[in-house]
Amino acid sequence: MRETTPFKAFRAVVIAVLGLFTLIPLYAMITAALKPLRDVQGNFTWWPSSLTTAPFVDMWSTVPLARYFANSVIVSVSATAASVALAILAAFAVSRFTFRGRSVFTTTVLSTQMFPGVLFLLPLFLIFTNINSATGIQLVGSRLGLIITYLTFTLPFSIWMLVGYFDSIPRELDEAAMVDGCTPLGALWRVVLPAARPGVIAVAIYSFMTAWGEVLFASVMTNDANRTLAVGLREYSTQTNVYWNQIMAASLVVSIPVVVGFLLAQKSFVAGVTAGAVK
């Protein structure tokens, strides 16, 4: 493509329009978090009447934000760790072995990724309730229920992405390691995994982002004690007041870890998505 004048004009327009579309909400979020309460309760202003960091302090006491934060961290970290581990094992099997049921496994698992979440909501609620009354293991209203739900939701895509990565690593490498006395799992650990590190990172970020942002199951399967941020942030709106400045401050704080993580690992993420898609 040539850098003609019309193309340069097109580029300028696209960047300006989409830049504004992207930036305005981010600007509204950041400035609202620095406004006193009266500013967000009256007509919108582009600039705070007085800059304050009080929302970042008050947000911890208006709502038990620290508890929700801790719940989200525990749920997301556990679900991510488990999902990545399970996906690595499954992807290694699919990539390196031929066995009966291999294609049945991959198509079944992948197709579940396509199904809407609401389809699983009612049955899972029912199953978890009944497991609870039968065995005493609490899955509704506990972090464990959310962890196993989230880890499974991210499994299909993670497996798919890792199979793409593992396939791109020459088999000769793990065969050489096995000649040197490695078991297949040893070859996975010493040869395949180090070479597939960007893929593993991408999968971990994808799993963490999914768990951190999930709303549907969090709204049904949690109670006061184990509520996650996805649901907890709604509690800043009470019947008498909506603390928009604190909502925006809290949104900002809970977004920073995932946004930074995603942007840092952007390249591996894109590479991972395309490694799977190009096949």
Binding site: M1, T4, F7, F10, I15, L18, F21, T22, L23, I24, P25, L26, A28, M29, A32, G42, N43, L86, L89, A90, A93, V94, M114, P116, G117, V118, F120, L121, L122, P123, F125, L126, I127, T129, I148, T152, L155, I159, P184, M209, G213, V215, L216, S219, A230, W244, I247, M248, S251, L252, V254, S255, V258, V259, F262, L263, V270, V273, T274, V278
Partner: protein, 295 residues
């Protein structure tokens, strides 16, 4: 033996959370599963096709509600898909050639996608408030386009709002995917076309679009499935208000199930949703496959 051992944990979780619940869901749609039977489901009375009859009976309020929600969801899905794809494509083309600041622009464009869904949607909720929101402030006070401030989260405007919010969050994904697809197009193709005198528009139509076909096929399907079953956007944007113009089907089923605790009819609606998505996906794959074979 080893591959099965490696697969076992993933298979167990898939069975427990995906496969078994799917069959349980289908079973649920055939029984009268109200609040009283949730803890002892084996005693729930058989309903046959009763739940389905209720869900598709357009003369009853339940059936009419579901049909309306289906229509709204279809319109939403098509608008959000078209806009996300268009914006993603425009941005990917604009950023195809290196220029100063390209990395910064690309990173900025990806931020809405990286934000947790609820954080982005809550921000839009804040901006769309009638009396205190940014959108009405810009329209009424900055641009003087309107004098009466409209409600954006109630009534008919809810549709435009939910499409905008969904596109804001989703178009970066289209951008990311198309950008990755563009990287695999050899630059020699463009050079050869330039020598032959093809202008940029011609090059986009004759080189870029055909080369992106496999990427686009997957992207369009994924965007459709995502938008059609979108729950986060209406749930966080509208909360308990549920305006009919923003009553997307996942949100509708959720509310129908947990307001009445009638899980049987909720399950029937979910199964209908699944059947619809399966039929659309199958038809889509069939048509696109046939076309590529002919080409």
């Amino acid at each position: 033996m080893l591959p099965y051992v490696l697969l076992a944990p993933a298979v167990v979780m898939e069975l427990l959370i995906h496969i078994i619940p799917m069959f349980v869901g289908i079973w649920m749609s055939f029984v009268r599963l109200t609040k009283f039977f949730l803890a002892n489901w084996s005693e729930a009375p058989w309903a046959g096709l009763g739940n389905y009859r209720l869900a598709v009976d357009v003369n009853s309020s339940i059936g009419r509600g579901l049909l309306m929600s289906f229509g709204v969801t279809l319109a939403f899905s098509i608008c959000a898909l078209a806009l996300s794809w268009g914006l993603g494509m425009a941005a990917a083309i604009a950023l195809q050639q290196p220029f100063r600041g390209r990395g910064v622009v690309r990173t900025l464009f990806l931020v809405p996608y990286a934000l947790p869904a609820y954080a982005g949607i809550l921000t839009w909720n804040f901006m769309l408030q009638r009396d205190t929101g940014l959108v009405n402030h810009v329209l009424a006070d900055n641009l003087h386009l309107i004098t009466d401030r409209p409600f954006w989260l109630l009534g008919g405007n809810a549709f435009a709002s939910i499409v905008t919010v969904a596109v804001w969050r989703l178009w970066p994904f289209a951008f990311l995917t198309i950008m990755a697809g563009l990287q695999s197009i050899p630059t020699e193709l463009y050079e050869a076309a330039s020598v032959d005198g093809a202008n940029n528009w011609r090059q986009w139509r004759s080189i870029t679009l055909p080369s992106l076909r496999p990427v686009n096929l997957v992207l369009v399907l994924v965007l459709f499935l995502w938008t059609f079953s979108d729950f986060n956007t209406p749930y966080v944007l509208f909360g308990t208000a549920q305006p009919p113009a923003g009553d997307l089907i996942s949100f509708h089923i959720y509310n129908a199930s947990f307001l009445t605790w009638n899980f049987g009819s909720g399950a029937a609606m979910s199964v209908l949703l699944l059947l619809f998505l399966l039929v659309v996906t199958a038809a889509y794959l069939l048509i696109t496959n046939r076309r590529s074979r002919r080409a």
